[in-house]
Symmetry: C3
Subunit: 156 residues, 3 copies
């Protein structure tokens, strides 16, 4: 790891920070811009479909979170450059969702990891090329809803 | 962002880390030193007064937290230098307070963001020049006490 | 702090990130490798023995966590090099444990700090030389089990 590589790593950390901030503030058009146009989104652990392409994620997630208050936190990233324009990263995470009055669920809480790939696009901006979320515990209304027998391994 | 700027960003991250550590360990004289003498503190979302000057904050906060156990965590900072001696930053946050026996409240829990400005003072030390806290959810004794309809935007 | 030192600091951050990840994924042989052979582990606050040497910790912790789901998060590190091959660090932390069915305890939750020393070993890898955990609050099954009157100070 060189000083120049460390600058790229910090840029990727700030990219992921914006992912969290813009999602929780529901600034969807800015949020969309943290992803590569040809990204892959794998949050299939909760039976969500595997999504290919930024537009598919934009069509999928914002409507689901409409009216839902969310808080996503990321921790202790391990980010490694695999080339000058590609990188892999692992983030510990926690998320909290509060559903609106009248919903069948009141809260969702989870912890786990994001396993990700990043690409520096021709415009010089790092974006998320692949996002894979694997939670180790999820509680709905305070009760565990699934308990994977073993966490799935990622890049690290 | 250059390697030299990244060093300044790391120093600001450590500054904020000391803010959290020294507050939760109630080391108030060291804690005061993380702020510029002429800082502005805006935690007005919970009807606290807007405070101008470090002394005003030192007079305000430590007496409130006397006897209260606190835990403040900060996450995924986005810190940008605006000049060699000034910077802006956004931190995701979570705080937990446990009030002493006999208090009308037992716990306070919240999540949100710090929107901040920093200045490198003539002694070469970065300090917090402006702190603005905007929480997205606050619970007292496990019940939500206010629900801002939309989070207030900060620097990022 | 120089750019080169910042690279070492990032490597230590990633070391601690692997400590958390590998422990929570129970990848014990990889986890053991984040410690110096001659490390000291002080989690004596909860009456655990003071452990000397990596093997003592490997013999101690993994059997205790067998069958227990764990989530450890680390925050806002303050890491300082004390020489080209030694460093000290402080991390805010939170941990959550879920015990298996039939255990006398169901959950443990805590927050506090890790006070640590690191060494770059002859193979060029940073490892944890000294780990001291001091929590400020611990709850078992949602009830506080001890309340240190004042947090113990560490390096920072």
């Amino acid at each position: 790891m060189t000083s120049d590589e460390l600058v790229e790593i910090e840029r990727i950390k700030q990219l992921k920070a914006r992912y969290f901030l813009l999602m929780d503030q529901k600034r969807w058009s800015e949020w969309a811009n943290v992803f590569c146009v040809d990204c892959t989104i794998d949050t299939t652990q909760d039976d969500s479909p595997l999504l290919r392409g930024r537009q598919a994620f934009v069509d999928f997630l914002p409507p689901i979170l409409e009216g839902v208050k969310t808080c996503h936190h990321g921790h202790t990233p391990i980010i490694e450059l695999s080339s000058p324009t590609t990188a892999v990263g692992t983030w510990a995470m926690e998320d909290m969702l509060w559903f609106p009055e009248g919903s069948p669920r009141r809260t969702l809480w989870g912890v786990g990891w994001y396993y990700e790939r990043y690409r520096k696009d021709p415009d010089g901006e790092w974006r998320i090329l692949e996002l894979k979320l694997r939670r180790i515990r999820v509680e709905v209304d305070g009760r565990e809803i699934f308990a994977p027998s073993a966490p799935e391994r990622g890049h690290h």
